[in-house]
């Protein structure tokens, strides 16, 4: 697939008579005219280019190619998706990928984005498909929140010197405990429900094996184990080689029930029922048959090459009591050994839904905001459905407290956590922990080109093509993930210390530690935080 030439013997024969060497039909001549409105241009500095063809070998979209006649590497910018792989690997720095400067006449309503989409759909007549999370310029509430720090009246704590605790337990907690104290010893009388222990309030979000490849799955599993956190299988089953990482695995049950069976349910430290995904609330998932190779087939327990269709709803859940039915079916199937999480997309009435989910018996509620990533989503859904995770989180945490059930379930927030400050803000708003997904992928090289659904990810992430998947060396990927979470952990400790806290539970829901800038009174009321200056 990395071969550039479109070799057709007939053409080749004709070329034999000419002085040129047949290299395949190139350029825009035979392409739809719409292709000319491409998004990126490749700039090759000929002073630097040595024609070593590294770019050609790296590009899975066949942008770069060797031109026998010219005896140099050429490129076809119309195919470029802006992944920057060639730029990153070019040993002489000869390549720069730029936004195509070609401009349409200014129109703040009909932006080029809309024009291009209409052209494409008029040409091909299908649903626009995208990858990753919502890129549109909606407000990012994380960026409107500022953190507190201690000055004089209470001391900041130096996390390099003093103990600093990030350990978090996810699961349902009783409202009160009973102890038996005898001879200076304390025994717990209350029986606790199962919990998931995390050394950092960070988990690797559900990304199925299939949507991303095995190398990254094993990297996540190993990193989670090393870090003492958990990763989530996503709806793709659990490869037999990964069962040994079970204590650090949340296994997911979604509508397609791929690879779901007794062993699977009992393999992890938690089960998550996926109702919705932030990137595509209300939409199912389609893993195209091309991505279902031997390993994926084995794991999902479907034949090689067949589409893996996850319906929009669970067909056994059409109401909240059905959710309860499934929650308890899973608890029965695992003999109540592991907590059950329910993941929903952040939508308009998320707070009420979350409250229902807790009452339905979920031990963890995971909310995925509209910035959450995906391997493939209809563009219109990705860009227009759902609400920001921050607002959903604030509303849910408050609602559960108002209803006196906050202890009954842990809250996990997902969808666009980009840095440790986002984590701290999420926890201050009321989350017990966060899921990071896109950040995991970025850590291993993703440049957010949003073409995951093509299965040709040049960074070897959202692809099962062996030639590409090997670009993710699991050892490197693991180290990067470990580094990322550790460094975020240090930063969280620094921020906590600055606030005068030495344990994460004193931050959780502590909205006094947040101040807002540039938000309306209504937004402040939803977030229940003071504006900066108050």
């Amino acid at each position: 697939m990395l071969d550039c030439g479109l070799v057709k013997s007939k053409c080749r024969k004709k070329f034999l008579k000419s002085k040129y060497i047949y290299t395949g039909v190139r350029a825009l001549l035979y392409q739809s005219i719409v292709q000319n409105y491409h998004d990126f241009v490749v700039e090759r500095n000929l002073d630097l280019c040595i024609n070593c063809r590294v770019c050609e070998r790296q590009c899975s979209y066949l942008v770069h190619y060797w031109d026998e006649n010219r005896q140099r590497v050429m490129h076809d910018s119309s195919k470029c998706v802006g992944c920057h792989r060639c730029e990153a690997l070019c040993p002489t720095g000869a390549i720069v990928i730029k936004r195509n400067p070609s401009q349409f006449r200014e129109n703040s309503h009909w932006k080029p984005w809309f024009l291009k989409n209409v052209y494409k759909q008029a040409e091909q007549g299908g649903v626009l498909l995208s990858g990753m999370g919502n890129p549109q310029p909606y407000p990012i509430y994380w960026d409107h929140l500022l953190l507190d720090a201690s000055q004089v009246t209470n001391p900041s704590i130096d996390p390099l010197r003093e103990p600093m605790e990030l350990r978090t337990y996810l699961g349902s907690k009783p409202d009160a405990l009973e102890f038996v104290e005898r001879d200076n010893k304390v025994n717990l009388k209350t029986k606790l429900s199962p919990q998931i222990k995390l050394n950092y309030p960070i988990m690797f979000s559900a990304m199925s094996y299939g949507s991303i490849n095995f190398n990254l799955h094993i990297a996540m599993a190993k990193a989670a184990t090393e870090l003492g956190i958990v990763y989530n299988t996503g709806e793709g089953g659990l490869h037999p080689d990964l069962y040994k990482y079970g204590p650090n695995t949340i296994i997911q049950v979604a509508s397609g029930r791929f690879g779901v069976h007794k062993d699977y349910l009992n393999a992890g430290c938690g089960i998550e029922i996926k109702i919705g995904q932030g990137a595509k609330p209300g939409i199912g998932g389609h893993l195209p048959g091309e991505k279902v190779d031997a390993g994926v087939s084995l794991t999902r327990m479907i034949p090689i090459g067949s589409d893996a269709l996850s319906p929009a709803p669970h067909h056994d859940i059409y109401s909240i009591e059905d959710l309860r039915q499934l929650i308890y079916a899973l608890k029965e199937a695992t003999e109540y050994r592991v907590p059950v999480s329910v993941k929903i997309a952040a939508v308009h009435n998320a707070a009420a839904i979350a409250s229902g989910i807790v009452r339905a018996g979920a031990d963890i509620v995971a909310i995925d905001g509209f910035r959450g990533g995906t391997g493939a989503a209809p563009t219109m859904i990705r860009d227009n459905v759902g609400i920001p995770a921050e607002l959903a989180l604030a509303a849910i945490d408050q609602r559960l407290r108002d209803e006196g059930v906050r202890n009954k379930a842990s809250i996990v927030i997902a969808g666009g956590i980009r840095c440790s400050a986002d984590v701290v803000k999420a926890i201050a708003l009321g989350a017990d922990a966060v899921y990071i997904g896109s950040a995991v992928l970025v850590a291993v090289g993703c440049t957010m080109c949003q073409r995951c659904y093509t299965g040709k990810c040049p960074w070897g992430i959202a692809t099962n093509v062996p030639a590409l998947a090997r670009r993710q060396n699991p050892e490197i990927a693991k180290r990067k993930l470990v580094n990322l979470v550790r460094s975020w952990g240090h930063e969280i400790e620094e921020m906590l210390g600055g606030m005068g806290l030495n344990s994460i539970e004193s931050l959780r829901g502590n909205r006094e530690k947040l101040r807002a800038v540039g938000l309306s009174e209504i937004e402040l009321d939803i977030l229940k935080i003071k504006p900066a200056g108050r």
């Binding site: 029930r257 327990m301 589409d307 308890y328």
Partner: protein
């Protein structure tokens, strides 16, 4: 060696009932007769091994979910979600069964004498030597075999309480991309969703149907030959990629 226990389930909450069953299993019991079952959920859910259950009464929601191995005979009706994501085993229902029967079932066999509800056999899928089979003696509700990816569904339409209803409901096999549905005496075109190939059965099909109809008949004390004595049609997907061309890269 079988060790049998009779449990009167009357008034026992499902959690307790299932806990009891698990305890008896730990003690080495393999055969269970559950009397006066009245909607208790999750019986045999997540259970693995060679066990026999005779359930008298109404089996509750998600009975035999994620089950791998046991044999269940339900003398009475079964509610919704019977055999949900079931892996292996056999279930016989002498009455009727509710909605979402055999959801995402990957293996095992389910035989229901009477009618079944809506969305039966949704997302059934076969894998390697695993082949889920559902035989329905009565009629089925709408959306039968939706998203089916593998396995066999046989609808006989013979032992139905509803004389007027069509043998299956609307949008039969929507989104099907694998597996086979056999229907005795055929089905009106209006019930069919897109992407279906409706054909007469061939010799191979006939052998297959006969095998499962015989099981059905012997489990339920019926005459297999009489059931076989009719025209069967076969429904399969036209393509394994029903939604393959739906999208435009953006």
């Amino acid at each position: 060696m079988t060790k049998k226990i009779v449990i009167d389930a009357k008034g026992i909450y499902y959690k307790e009932l299932n806990q009891q069953i698990r305890k008896f299993i730990q003690k080495g019991y393999t055969d269970f007769e559950l009397l006066n079952v009245s909607g208790q959920r999750y019986i045999a859910t997540g259970l693995e091994g060679d066990y026999n259950f005779l359930i008298k009464g109404v089996a509750g929601q998600d009975t035999a979910a994620f089950m791998r191995g046991p044999y269940l005979r339900i003398e009475g009706n079964a509610q919704d979600g019977l055999g949900n994501t079931m892996d292996a085993g056999k279930i016989v229902v002498t009455g009727m069964a509710g909605d979402v029967l055999g959801y995402a079932m990957r293996g095992g066999e389910i035989y229901v004498r009477g009618d079944v509800g809506y969305r039966v056999g949704i997302h059934m899928k076969a894998y390697q030597d695993k082949l889920p089979v559902i035989v329905i003696g009565g009629k089925a509700g709408d959306f039968l075999g939706e998203y089916m990816a593998g396995g066999i569904l046989i609808v006989l339409g013979m032992f139905s309480q509803d004389k007027i209803a069509p043998i299956t409901g609307r949008s039969l096999a929507t989104g099907i991309h694998g597996g086979i549905i056999y229907i005795r005496d055929g089905v009106p075109d209006t019930q069919l969703s897109f992407n279906l190939k409706v054909e007469e059965i061939d010799e191979q099909d006939s052998v297959l149907i006969h095998k499962y109809v015989s099981n059905f008949a012997s489990e339920l004390g019926l005459d297999a030959e009489e059931i076989m004595d009719a025209r069967f049609i076969r429904i399969r997907p036209k393509s394994h990629r029903p939604y393959g061309n739906l999208y435009v890269p953006n």
